[in-house]
């Protein structure tokens, strides 16, 4: 259909409706809360969520032909002068990040309809977070990036605190202090860059730096590393991930899915926009890529040693983001104008996208199972499958979702994780990162064999133990009530959080089924999707590599054989890990609570290493 009248939607407007629609939804939720009561308010809130989370798809569809044909929607917001105004850039990469964000946010919201949280404050903050993701994806101005990151941050502190689990307030507080302080360092870096260049837009900064003698020298290097370190903090990379396990493990399940699936990746891809054009960007990306490989292997070892199911998943998020960062760093190091760089970036994005799908599914299915079973201890919980059946789930959707997601993260064909991991290792073949990532994959398989034991039937001995001591994990609210001294109606009893989940309900099933189908479908359609992402990223660089090299072949005998070996190795590693010696060794690497200052020490160390690296190259 063509618009023939005078009224046409400009590309710029449709791009900004990606940000404005969720914000409008948030405003509607607040209006509903302020002016309406009861069913009317609930109905309006529901409508607002629909507008905010699914309306942007229209804008994405509308802008797709533009992006596909290689155009970039760019300009200055409000048509002001570019010297001071805010520049934005909507290209294939931004389109892809938005598509990723709205997919996961939509599924997480449907899940939250069934399992909570669902208050108006939650809804509006959730929508605002989604809007900030969209804005982060398309900004090309460094101070605007700061504002977007702050909005993302403050929304996620509130969302993490909205959990009623024990320790969620501490997790939220630690996350807030670390990330707010790192944002002050971001400002200091911004000061350095502004002092050197007098400009705030990415293109202005890079042009001014290139014009300077010595390209800005030490000040430019240090300012850049301050900014990169602050963003890397949000991405939870190697030395800076200390805040993540608590925050992600204690948040409500739907929030965990969004935090792990989208929130830690968007800053990374937003950062690539400035790293590509600033001198020294490639060198910084190289170091980050190395840190990513290290993250992948270290985090998977720590994950293998966890006993809390959701903490295990949180460590896997760190490990998987390590894969993404490794490929992303290598891509930026090579440059997006090389074919290998394009393929690596495609692989990185594809893995980020697939990880969002299967990790979201993992958080939702493990969350549902552990809530119904009443325990999250990987070592003692058994028979979760039968618990699910008893709770009235006639179709074993949760169990099937878990199986699909676990197979996907373990890179078993034909699921999506297989395709993206093959894509990453294909481009890295021959380098040391290839071997590190392969080892990390073996660890992933082993730890998911370990996690899947919670669904195995219950042996008699453990059943006895389980009835004797009810799990401690699920009594937090009582403890809170006891300590806070508040009357009982303010602090809800232990069951309020889970009562909704105790019975099988439709939204929980639907959201899991949606994500499970997406995992299978995106696995089957992986070659096509690879070409799609490559083409979109390519159109951003407009070089036309797509036709030259369509990407890796998936189901070669070589790859399948390698997968078989990895599964065998994973099983061996699992046996080792649960053996007496293995569990003693693993308890050494289990996350020591290094305390609050440990978080800052790792930040300071990471920051200074990055500085030294950039000053030396």
């Amino acid at each position: 259909m063509k618009f023939t009248g005078r009224f046409t939607v400009s590309p710029e407007s449709s791009v900004f409706s990606l940000v404005m629609l969720p914000l409008l939804g948030a405003a509607l939720v607040m209006l509903a809360k302020a002016f309406l009561k009861g069913r009317m308010a609930a109905g309006m809130q529901f409508t607002a969520m629909l507008v905010g989370l699914f309306g942007p798809w229209l804008a994405l569809l509308y802008t797709f032909p533009l992006v596909w044909s290689g155009l970039t929607v760019e300009g200055v917001i409000g048509n002001w002068s570019g010297v001071v105004g805010i520049t934005f850039q909507f290209d294939g990469l931004a389109w892809l990040i938005n598509a990723l964000g709205y997919t996961v946010a939509g599924a997480a919201w449907i899940y939250s309809l069934g399992a909570g949280p669902r208050g108006p404050v939650f809804s509006s903050v959730f929508l605002i977070q989604t809007a900030a993701l969209a804005a982060t994806a398309m900004t090309a101005d460094i101070f605007n990036l700061f504002v977007c990151l702050e909005v993302l941050g403050i929304a996620s502190y509130v969302l993490v605190a909205s959990s009623e689990k024990n320790g969620a307030f501490l997790a939220s507080f630690s996350y807030l202090m670390v990330s707010a302080s790192s944002m002050v360092f971001f400002l200091a870096g911004l000061f350095g860059l502004y002092r050197l260049t007098g400009s705030l837009s990415y293109s202005g900064i890079s042009q001014a730096l290139l014009a300077l003698p010595d390209q800005g020298g030490g000040l430019a290097a240090i300012s850049l590393s301050l900014i990169i370190a602050a963003v890397a903090m949000r991405v939870a990379m190697m030395p800076l991930y200390g805040w993540l396990p608590d925050a992600h493990a204690l948040a409500p399940h739907a929030v965990s899915a969004v935090l792990s699936g989208v929130l830690i990746k968007t800053p990374l891809f937003a950062l690539s926009r400035i790293m590509l054009i600033v001198p020294l960007g490639a060198a910084a990306a190289q170091l980050l890529g190395y840190a990513g490989a290290a993250t992948a292997i270290v985090a998977v070892l720590v994950a293998l040693s966890q006993k809390d199911a959701k903490r295990l998943l949180a460590y896997h998020s760190i490990s998987q983001i390590g894969y993404v960062v490794c490929a992303w760093g290598a891509a930026l190091d090579l440059g997006m104008d090389t074919m290998a760089g394009q393929h690596l970036m495609t692989a990185a994005f594809l893995h980020a996208f697939y990880h969002a799908l299967f990790k979201g599914l993992l958080f939702l299915s493990i969350g549902t199972s552990t809530d119904r079973a009443g325990s999250r201890n990987v070592y003692t919980l058994r028979g979760a499958a039968s618990t699910l059946r008893q709770s009235g789930e006639r179709l074993p959707i949760t169990l099937l979702s878990f199986i699909i997601a676990a197979l996907a993260i373990s890179a078993i064909p034909p699921l999506n994780g297989y395709a993206s991991k093959i894509a990453i290792t294909y481009s890295l073949k021959g380098s040391w990162q290839y071997w590190v990532l392969s080892a990390a994959s073996i660890g992933t398989i082993a730890s998911f064999i370990k996690l899947s034991r919670i669904f195995w039937p219950q042996p008699a001995r453990i059943r006895l133990m389980a009835t004797e001591e009810p799990s401690a994990v699920f009594m937090p609210s009582v403890a809170t009530a006891r300590h806070s001294g508040l009357p009982a109606q303010i602090v809800p009893g232990p069951m309020t959080d889970t009562s909704a989940v105790k019975r099988a309900n439709l939204p929980v099933g639907i959201s899991q089924a949606m994500l499970a189908l997406a995992c299978v479908a995106s696995g089957l359609a992986a070659p096509w999707l690879y070409g799609f992402v490559l083409r979109l990223l390519d159109s951003a660089a407009s070089l036309g590599f797509t036709s030259l090299n369509p990407g890796p072949a998936l189901y070669t005998a070589d790859n399948l054989l390698k997968t078989l070996y990895m599964v065998l190795a994973g099983f061996v590693l699992f046996r080792l890990a649960v053996s007496a010696l293995g569990s003693r060794l693993l308890s050494l690497v289990r996350d020591r609570h290094r305390g609050f200052h440990g978080l800052f020490l790792s930040f300071a160390v990471g920051l200074s290493v990055l500085c030294v690296w950039l000053l030396l190259v």
């Binding site: 407007s13 010297v83 001071v84 200091a188 301050l226 602090v491 309020t496």
Partner: protein
């Protein structure tokens, strides 16, 4: 490890942390590069003509970089609703939704000693409140000419609202200072702000553009409008937060 060794290790970690940060920041903070002139020169030459606001900071804040300001008001919005939700109910208000009993936003009141108001305080603040409100509106509306603007005016308005709330008698229903109304004003102002920001899309002058540029309206009118809306929103939001914290809700 003994307590003493632990303490030394702890202090050593902190010293290392601060030293590393100092080493990194010294070149940034102590740099004596000349400050860039490009943005200043551009604004001094064209700022007034392009935006119509003689206060260049306002011109940037609500003109050139109004999108940042939108982000800032959103941070404030999330902070206020998050703070209230956390102090009043823990996670419960976020988790449960509409099942909560209404009017509990003033929960922290129980922790204040009962005697927070005295006769003198009541009289002084009650008389001062309207004056402060008027001053806040002045700061808010003249931000494009003189120092001040929507945000600063909003803060002054908020303190005026708090004064009125402190000054009014316990049972007197003061419609401006009731939390319900403040929440209503805040959410309505937020919706208005979003509408104003996107109105340019419909009229064709682009996102955050002056919607009536075609009709001969100068950009400064748009800046004044934004100032007023932001002032209203900030005033209501902060006033709500302070009143809830002082336990003066209904």
């Amino acid at each position: 490890m003994s307590g003493r060794a632990r303490r030394i290790l702890f202090l050593a970690q902190i010293a290392l942390c601060v030293l590393l940060v100092a080493a990194v920041l010294i070149p940034v903070f102590l740099s004596s590069m000349p400050w860039p002139l490009s943005a200043r020169d551009y604004l001094q030459a064209n700022g007034l003509a392009e935006s119509g606001a003689s206060n260049l900071v306002s011109a940037i804040y609500l003109g050139y970089r109004a999108f940042d300001t939108l982000g800032e008001t959103i941070v404030l919005l999330v902070a206020i609703s998050g703070t209230i939700a956390i102090i009043a109910h823990g996670g419960a208000v976020l988790a449960q939704g509409y099942g909560l009993p209404s009017g509990t936003a003033s929960e922290p009141a129980r922790h204040l000693p009962p005697k927070t108001r005295t006769e003198l305080l009541e009289v002084v603040t009650g008389k001062l409140g309207p004056v402060v409100l008027v001053f806040g509106v002045y700061v808010m509306m003249y931000g494009h000419l003189s120092p001040g603007g929507g945000f600063q005016g909003g803060v002054v308005i908020a303190s005026g609202i708090v004064f009125l709330a402190l000054g009014s008698r316990v049972d007197a229903s003061n419609s401006l200072t009731s939390p319900e109304n403040l929440v209503r004003i805040e959410s309505a102002a937020f919706a208005l702000l979003l509408l104003a920001a996107s109105s340019g899309i419909i009229s064709g002058s682009g996102f955050f553009g002056n919607p009536l540029a075609g009709a001969g309206l100068t950009p400064v009118a748009f800046i004044i409008t934004l100032n007023a809306i932001i002032g209203l929103k900030v005033g209501a939001g902060l006033g709500f937060m302070c009143i809830a914290m002082l336990g003066r809700g209904k």
